[in-house]
């Protein structure tokens, strides 16, 4: 335990980086994911096809391959961003595909009568989506979206492989010096579990708050 306490400062800074990556890409992927879902159910075939392709690409290619491509390969084509920003962008577009899948299964739970009623009231498609369908769809999948966010938390650890000093990377560095793997890795594991628990509890509370009783 002494190794953890002695290195508390760099470890906390690394935890801050993990949380920063988590929060920014969580917000980004939720927004982008909903947009992709809207494109996926739109009456415009081109948009539907593009959204389908988007989801297929990011659900089937490993995140690590995308990270290596973005961090090490794309600079060759003159596309260079700060390291942490690159990681956040990759995580956002990757996780957005999973958000889109979750929200789409939520759209399936919206009763057709809701849409018909909205149309009967004279709402246009964009209004129907914005005011009737998407709010209900997202509320129906709060719990699955929480799971996507927990997966996102797990995936922030991959930033360590491309050189971002976030929690996993910092823990590894501390261990290489202090050589006390059990206490150090246990502390890191407990921290991740606490973060995941927080996301899960938040999802539970949000669900209770916004749930639609049918």
């Amino acid at each position: 335990m002494t190794a953890v306490i002695e290195n508390l400062d760099p470890l906390l800074r690394a935890l801050g980086t993990t949380v920063l990556i988590l929060v920014v890409s969580a917000v980004g992927s939720l927004v982008l994911g909903v947009l992709v879902t809207v494109a996926r159910v739109s009456p415009i075939p081109v948009l539907r096809g593009a959204a389908w392709a988007y989801v297929q690409v990011f659900v089937n290619i490993p995140l690590l391959a995308l990270l290596l491509l973005a961090v090490f390969a794309l600079p060759d084509a003159g596309l260079l961003m700060p390291l942490t920003t690159t990681v956040i962008v990759v995580l956002t577009v990757y996780e957005a595909a999973y958000v889109a899948e979750a929200v789409r299964s939520g759209i399936n739970t919206v009763a057709a009568g809701q849409v018909e009623a909205a149309r009967a009231l004279g709402l246009r498609l964009s209004q129907t989506l914005r005011h009737v369908v998407v709010p209900q769809a997202v509320r129906a999948v709060v719990q699955p979206l929480g799971n996507v966010m927990i997966a996102l938390l797990m995936n922030t650890a991959l930033a360590a492989t491309v050189g971002v000093v976030e929690l996993t990377s910092a823990v590894n560095k501390v261990n290489l010096v202090a050589a006390q793997p059990i206490p150090i890795f246990t502390a890191a594991g407990l921290t991740y579990m606490a973060l995941a628990l927080a996301i899960g509890l938040a999802a539970g509370r949000i669900e209770k708050k916004v749930a639609i009783h049918r």
Binding site: R40, V41, S42, P43, I44, P45, V46, L47, R48, A50, Q56, V57, V59, N60, I61, P62, L63, L64, A65, L68, L69, F72, A73, D76, A77, G78, L79, Y98, R104, S105, I107, N108, T109, A112, V115, L125, T128, V141, P144, N147, V148, I150, A151, L153, M154, N155, L158, T168, N172, N175, A179, P181, I182, I184, F185, G189, Y192, M193, L197, R214
Partner: protein, 289 residues
């Protein structure tokens, strides 16, 4: 129109059709524009030159990458078998009436689901050797992946068991079979068939996870790509080609999962009750990782 959003609008009339056409043209132009911008950027930095792509028409490079693909398949198969068996046991454990067994399984599942695999891999690589535990490279990848995937498989199987009508278990018990036998011969076979699509989806995510072999220096596809790109200096081309290989293989599996999903849904009698329908759709929610 038969896609999933079709219930959101009426069959389009002449005006709507015109608008859809206009939308199609505009969005196609925007997409083409973005694509063209990317191509221009790539072209300006010389990434589109023919001699940067022709090496990938040669057999030696492909045979080099195929060895990696074999490693990916080997690791994925090992993890699938181990995590599958372990996961089913954990699911039964979590549903067991024996309290310590239930608590242990639940505890394991909850912990394993919230630990990054990379953290476990670093523990394997740099932590455990200090205690004299130094596994071969393949197992440094397979063990952490099995630990993580077993928990996910357990949750999928448990969802399948819980979704089965309770009458199945009750009927089996009333025939005088023991609980364990009823589980083995009546409940599990049906539950597993029901969750096969989700298990295939999980297989895709597991194959993606084997790319962590890059970290432990196990010869799988992504690791080979990295070695290859360090040698031929064609980073963008190599990683794009490898990403395409992943896309083709996993895409085929994802397609299979989608097909199975519609087949399973057709086998189950079409639900008429909207609540039941909603419950049925809930099962489709992809398990993510």
């Amino acid at each position: 129109m038969s896609h999933s959003g079709a219930f959101l609008y009426d069959a389009p009339g002449p005006r709507a059709r015109r608008r859809i056409l206009l939308g199609s043209v505009v969005s196609a132009l925007v997409l083409a524009g973005v694509f063209a911008l990317a191509l221009v950027q790539f072209g300006r930095t010389g990434q589109l030159d023919a001699d940067r792509w022709t090496p990938f028409l040669d057999w030696p490079i492909w045979s080099y990458l195929l060895v990696g693909l074999r490693g990916t398949a080997l690791a994925a198969a090992l993890v699938a078998v181990l995590a599958g068996a372990f996961g089913v046991l954990l699911a039964i454990g979590r549903l067991s009436r024996n309290r310590p067994v239930r608590w242990l399984s639940t505890g394991y599942i909850e912990v394993a689901r919230t630990l990054p695999v990379l953290l476990l891999i670093y523990l394997m690589l740099f932590g455990l050797p200090a205690y004299g535990i130094n596994l071969p490279v393949l197992w440094k990848l397979v063990v952490p992946l099995t630990i993580a995937n077993a928990a996910v498989v357990a949750e999928i199987v448990r969802a399948g068991v819980l979704a089965l009508p309770r009458g199945q278990m009750e009927a089996a018990l009333s025939l005088g079979i023991r609980r364990g036998q009823a589980m083995r011969f009546v409940v599990l076979p049906q539950a597993l068939r029901h969750v096969t699509p989700s298990l295939v989806t999980q297989l895709v995510s597991l194959i993606k996870d084997t790319s962590l072999g890059y970290v432990v220096a196990f010869t799988e596809l992504l690791y080979r790509a990295q070695v290859l790109s360090a040698y031929n200096r064609l980073l963008i081309q190599t990683f794009l080609v490898v990403a395409l290989v992943y896309l083709v293989f996993n895409g085929a599996l994802s397609y299979l999962a989608a097909r199975l999903r519609t087949r399973v849904r057709r086998q189950v009698a079409p639900p008429s009750d909207p609540a039941e329908q909603a419950a049925d759709r809930e099962l489709e929610t992809p398990v993510v990782r």
